[in-house]
Subunit: 405 residues, 2 copies
DNA sequence: ACACTTTTTTTCGAGCAGCGAAATTAATGC
DNA sequence: GCATTAATTTCGCTGCTCGAAAAAAAGTGT
């Protein structure tokens, strides 16, 4: 049982990882800047960048003529990622849409395929085949990039297995418990990573706002589901490093409203789009939830609530209360300094905010430590995609490229 | 911004830490065994142990004549901690008792002072003075050990500040918001660590049962308070690495029973000793909680419930329900494979078990992943003390002694 | 033009890690 | 006494980082 022995090899890996990480976060920079960013000496930076350039992982960038920022002294030559050295295929599987994107090692989108989903899709086509078909198509359309494909990563909703990368349950019909990760990995002879969407939200929040990258943040997605990702002082947290919570299915009221998951009283059953509509239309709480809510119908309900419609206002208050109590209960275990609300529900944040804050105010932690900052991010600029891409590229950096050739 | 640079110094620190950690966990052993336990080569073990012996941190143990386990070949000389190289003072502050223990670097108890506490104690004596008096007394009684005192560590209940080691709130009267950590540290010129008791429970659980040291465990203390510590795959978790949860004050029922903390509906208000007695005696939920419950009264209630008394049974059912819903809600954020119940309430576990399991069964996570193992540890053999001591000694290992002289 | 200044980058030599292989040490067995 | 066995140390080697000095590549000034 040998673990964590440190030797000169692990030193190099660590420091190469530091260099790649700095480039990933801050973009191309000079060797001098790298020394400052990593804390390594100039001598070491020279050695490490030399190695990485020989291995074609990074390249010296051509000096772009920017006569404005020129001073005395030898001009810096920036180094940046060699975009051609690798690519990754990123699947985002949502309830009503699947999307696969091919990105290069520099984080530039190469190509993308989008497909609408229905609840029948994965009953009619095996998930493995559905995904493999699209991946094959993408590879055929981009042979150059496909030849250096390094990773497949998948974003999905649901509950992952504690130990292996497989899906135990999902709100997406007929996809859970099919071994698509293993099958894809075997078919394409590539590592396939599976991430819970909520976890990627947390990852994405870091890249959205640099101020949050060291903070403790809970990112709550409100829309057709309710999900959450957490970071503590910049590190992904929740159900372990694999980072996943089932916030949407935390119990709000025992024996309460029926949720899509089949349980009763989940937060999602009150706070998701279908929950809000059900409350607003006074549909019995035990009625089977609608399989999908058209975005415009949810938007319309927000508009009516903002116009003062009583039923609509009440529905959003109920939603806010569910979210607020959930957050308050979560805070007994983990108390973030910031809470972000993202997704379609962020548009309705002002309708839920007072209930959320009231529920938080009733918790001991908030009473003692004060309320966290609760803000909505409407313009989300695709935090899930960004999180999925950055996580995957960073993983290539640290796992594949930080190790010596 | 330079961080985490790896150089030969950090390599040595890491590997010295590995050696000390192996000795801490497995006790004295031969150099060959150390090589196997750490994964380092024999040559490195020789170098590292030589250094540590020169610095008097570890010593070659005299060969205890054990003719039974002798074989051929050169006999192994075991190395073990030099018990005289350092000592630590450990405070355990509970609602009705304070205890300070002096332990040596080998983990052997040297001396101990116990003092009963009342709700007035810290109103009459400043906390700093109370603690300093006892520490001074302990030092005077043990001058030899006191001369190598390295650390003071304190176990306490309540809510710690997010950033600095101070107490924001505590069920122990008149102790919160007094700067005793800083003052003690200044007066004795020593590092003073402050730990939440729940966190030490989690630490202690590791040392109680080696099988749990790599598992994901929630350790729930049930007694005059309700507290919880968590580990994920062997690592302490919850409100960050500082490891603390406020499980007892997670809301169970909005606007529910009055808790000692002043909030309403906390789990503690139903599941702690005073909560159980209040339910059993049909005292109104809004009545001010008793400041302290004599152990025998709680024991008596357990006996009555076990004898079939309806009111008593009902009270423990209510307590179990509160704990069960709380655990179920926690599992949306963090789902352990094992749940341990410790403390006086472990004696009543069988009275609460069915309600706990029923509540857990109603959660999506358990529905999908199965129920965690829920067991009670009656014979707790002082997990808090053990956790406090091991955490503190390990901290000395890694912080003070792993660094090169 | 040509020497000087400034800034970036590389080179060089020293110091310290850990490692594998070989040597040494200290017992037992015959 | 000598072979055997097992624990430990010694030796020679490689790899890493570092600080200091040198080299490179510009702009500046006369």
């Amino acid at each position: 049982m040998a673990r964590n022995v440190s030797d000169s090899d692990s030193v190099r890996r660590q420091n190469r990882g530091l260099v790649l990480g700095a480039l990933r976060v801050q973009g191309p920079m000079s060797r001098t800047a790298l020394a400052a960013a990593t804390g390594l000496s100039h001598a070491s930076i020279t050695a490490i960048t030399h190695d990485l350039i020989v291995q074609q992982i990074i390249v010296d960038l051509e000096p772009t003529e920017r006569p404005d920022a020129r001073g005395r002294g030898r001009p810096a030559t920036l180094v940046g990622f060699n975009r051609r050295v690798g690519t990754a295929a990123l699947f985002e599987i949502d309830v009503n849409r699947a999307r696969i994107s091919l990105v290069d090692y520099g984080g530039v989108l190469v190509d993308r395929i989008e497909t609408p989903l229905t609840p029948r899709t994965f009953a009619e086509t095996r998930p493995t085949q559905f995904l493999a078909d699209r991946l094959r198509q993408l590879k055929e359309r981009n042979p150059a990039e496909a030849s250096v494909l390094q990773r497949v990563a998948i974003s999905i909703q649901g509950i992952l297995d504690r130990d292996e990368p497989s899906l135990r349950w999902s709100p997406i019909s007929h996809i859970a418990d099919t071994p698509f990760v293993a099958e894809l990995s075997a078919e394409f002879a590539l590592p396939v990573a599976l991430y819970k969407r909520g976890r990627l939200l947390a990852e994405g929040a870091r890249w959205l706002d640099p101020a949050l990258s060291d903070a403790s943040v809970a990112t709550v997605f409100v829309g057709s589901t309710v999900a959450m990702g957490m970071t503590f002082r910049g590190k992904i947290l929740g159900r372990g490093e694999e980072g996943a919570t089932e916030f949407g299915h935390m119990n709000h009221l025992p024996n309460g409203a029926l949720c899509r998951c089949g349980m009763r009283g989940c937060i999602e059953a009150y706070a998701s789009d279908y929950g809000v509509l059900r409350t607003a239309y006074s549909v019995p709480e035990t009625a089977t939830p609608a399989p999908a809510v058209p975005p415009q119908e949810y938007e319309g309900m927000i508009a009516r609530a903002e116009a003062g419609n009583r039923a609509a206002t009440h529905a959003f208050n109920t939603a806010g209360r569910a979210i607020g109590f959930g957050l308050g209960r979560m805070m007994a275990v983990f108390d973030p300094s910031h809470i972000l609300v993202v997704g379609p529900g962020a548009r309705a944040f002002s309708l839920m905010k007072s209930e959320i804050l009231a529920a938080l105010a009733g918790t001991l932690i908030c009473h003692v430590n004060g309320l966290p900052q609760v803000v909505a991010y409407r313009d989300e600029r695709e935090p899930v995609f960004k999180g999925l891409m950055m996580k995957t590229l960073n993983d290539i950096d640290q796992t594949d490229f930080a190790a010596r050739a």
